[in-house]
């Protein structure tokens, strides 16, 4: 069962992702904080990370940078979820490859399709 880590501080979006991904047959871990997300990534080695850019303790870009800096975690694909108008911040870090973007409000179908695609199913 593929493991997905959701790092998102909006409790209802956490719930949304968890309910749908679990039903689709994934094992889901959720957290609202970047630090906790990094800890979970280290412990669980998820197959995919869904990452929000606005987190209470650190920016999603910092989480991404720290993931990419760790040998064991850098290969994990990351899908960025954002409600920000400007997404171009990512171009400041061209080497930080992401597996894709999901602009809020996103289509549920789009989320599930992207997840499937990244996990190579």
């Amino acid at each position: 069962m593929p493991k997905i880590l959701v790092i998102e501080d909006e409790i209802n979006i956490q719930k949304l992702a968890a309910a749908n991904l679990t039903t689709s047959g994934y094992k889901v871990f959720v957290t609202g904080k970047g630090r906790e997300g990094l800890r979970l990534a280290q412990r669980e080695h998820p197959d995919l990370i869904l990452l929000d850019l606005r987190l209470p303790d650190m920016s999603g870009w910092d989480v991404l940078m720290l993931l990419k800096a760790e040998r064991k975690l850098q290969k994990i694909p990351v899908i960025i979820m954002t409600a920000s108008v400007q997404q171009d911040n990512g171009y400041k870090f061209p080497r930080m490859r992401t597996a894709g973007y999901l602009a809020k409000p996103f289509d549920l179908d789009e989320l599930l399709r992207k997840v499937k695609q990244v996990l190579g199913e």
């Binding site: 209802n12 309910a19 289509d107």
Partner: protein, 503 residues
């Protein structure tokens, strides 16, 4: 010719030359032109004597000048350097030429004349150099863009053109002893400073540059920087003062500040738009997401799950409504278009009107209300002040743990009523105290680890209180709690207490 007469002639000639060279306003050219004609008068036979003086490229000759073999000459020197010569010729051989063409005394006399001329030229040259430098300096000062004046004995001894032009008075008016420099030129509020500094400078004390405002002839005022020095003028100490007009600099600074402000406003607007968009998208994501979730053809949700999803949709729709209301309030406040439905209320009446909401909000806290009944009433919009109180209590519950105390207190302070809401929560770090009023700023909640609300609440509260001519502020101690307070003015006629007017 008797020796005595000859001696007189010689003395006369030398006297003429020496007066000539020491005449104060004479030029070198004039001095030599006159000297050349004076020299023959000192000789035994002036009628047949002619003279030539050369100085650099200049040559001066007597009218009857003709070079002859009967010649006598002396060099004119300055600091042992030859700069010219005086030559004397006899137009015909001397009648009794027993001692050669010239008398011995005449040779000495010519040397004396040449020496005198040398001294005279040297002095004139020094004087001319000095005059030239003085003229240069004067021209510099006269044409300087800054106002330059020399002040002595209570009036201006000199003012330059810039001063006349900028101040609007003529040179004669400004330098008149009866002008009254300080009274006429210095703006009222600065006159004592100027008088003090003039006195200081005359005592020889240093006065650092200072800024004052000057008045022009037509009464308009302008700012200047005053820099002065004590100089000697006509042998007595005087104030030489330079006024730099600061009008342009101050204008430019003002323009730069305005531009900066515009940029900040623009940035803020941009920030606001991006924040609003973010805040609107978040609940929309949940609503859209859960609707799609319920519509998923491949999933079968339990009744409990379906109910939960629908409740979430409901919640998020409420949040969206709240956000839109807040945005509307904010734009009304910004536009100064907040409509207030004012009447006289006692603070406890306002609390009563929001009693149920407060009870729900504080269900996990202990609410303590300290509102003395004898407080005067305030002239306010009950709904709006209720909104402020609700928001403050809501914040208090958000940032303090359940079971802790929340206190609403009202008291009279001079002619204001101060209402405060205090919690025993996490408190706010000093560096964030100002930030809590920023739009969309939401502090991290250490109790729930989550944020709630729109981030506009306190900004709106402040706007509402300000629309009532009050102030809203916060005091906080980290780890001990926060206390948000606002003031409402009590005006005359509202001094009656609530009980008196129960209808």
């Amino acid at each position: 010719m008797p020796k005595k007469l000859l001696r007189d002639k010689k003395l006369n000639c030398l006297y003429t030359i020496s007066t000539l060279v020491s005449r104060p306003d004479i030029t070198i050219e004039k001095m030599l032109a006159e000297a050349v004609n004076a020299i023959p008068q000192g000789y035994q036979y002036p009628e047949i004597t002619c003279t030539r003086i050369t100085f650099h490229k200049l040559t001066f000759k007597t009218k009857n000048f003709r070079a002859t073999p009967w010649k006598q000459a002396a060099d004119i020197t300055i600091d042992s350097k030859r700069i010219g010569a005086v030559e004397v010729y006899y137009l015909e051989p001397r009648p009794e030429s027993d001692e050669g063409p010239f008398l011995k005394e005449e040779r000495d006399q010519l040397n004396d004349i040449a020496r005198q001329l040398g001294v005279g030229i040297k002095r004139r040259q020094a004087e001319e150099a000095l005059q030239e430098s003085e003229e240069k300096y004067r021209a510099l000062v006269e044409n300087a863009p800054n106002m330059v004046v020399v002040y002595q004995d209570g009036h201006f001894k000199y003012v330059n053109r810039a001063a006349c032009n900028r101040l609007g008075w003529t040179y004669e008016e400004l330098t008149s002893p009866s002008f009254g420099v300080v009274e006429k030129l210095v703006s009222e509020g600065y006159q004592h400073i100027v008088r003090e500094n003039i006195a200081k400078r005359l005592r020889g004390e240093y006065v650092p540059p200072y800024e004052i405002t000057l008045k022009t002839q037509d009464g308009s005022e302008f700012p200047v920087l005053v820099r002065g020095a004590t100089i000697s003028y006509g042998g007595k100490p005087a104030n030489q003062v330079v006024f730099s007009d600061l009008t342009e600099r101050i204008e430019a600074e003002k323009k730069a500040r305005e531009l900066q402000l515009l940029k900040e406003v623009d940035n803020l607007r941009h920030q606001l738009l991006s924040n609003v968009s973010h805040e609107l998208r978040t609940p929309l994501t949940s609503i859209k997401g859960f609707v799609s979730t319920l519509l998923r053809p491949d999933a079968k949700w339990s009744e409990e799950e379906q109910r939960d999803f629908l409740e979430t949709i409901n919640q998020e729709a409420d949040r969206l409504t709240l956000l839109i209301n807040d945005l509307l309030d904010m734009s009304r406040i910004d536009a100064g278009a907040l409509k207030l439905d004012k009447d006289y209320y006692h603070i406890s009446e306002i609390l009563e009107s929001i009693g149920i909401r407060l009870a729900i909000l504080t269900q996990y806290h202990r609410l303590d209300i300290k509102v003395p009944p004898e407080l005067p009433r305030v002239f306010v919009d009950k709904m709006r002040i209720g909104q402020v109180l609700t928001n403050m209590v809501d914040n208090a519950t958000k940032y303090s743990s359940g079971g802790s105390e929340i206190t609403i207190e009202a008291r009279l302070d001079k002619n204001e009523i101060i209402v405060s809401v205090a919690d025993k929560g996490q408190g706010i770090p000093a560096e964030l105290l100002d930030k809590v009023f920023d739009r969309f700023y939401q502090a991290e909640n250490i109790v729930t680890g989550r944020k709630r609300g729109t981030g506009l609440g306190l900004s709106i509260c402040r706007g509402i209180v300000q629309a009532h001519n009050g102030r809203l502020w916060v005091e906080s101690k980290l780890g001990e709690g926060s206390k948000f307070s606002f003031s409402l003015p009590v005006t005359k006629g509202e001094g009656q207490v609530a009980q008196d007017s129960s209808h």
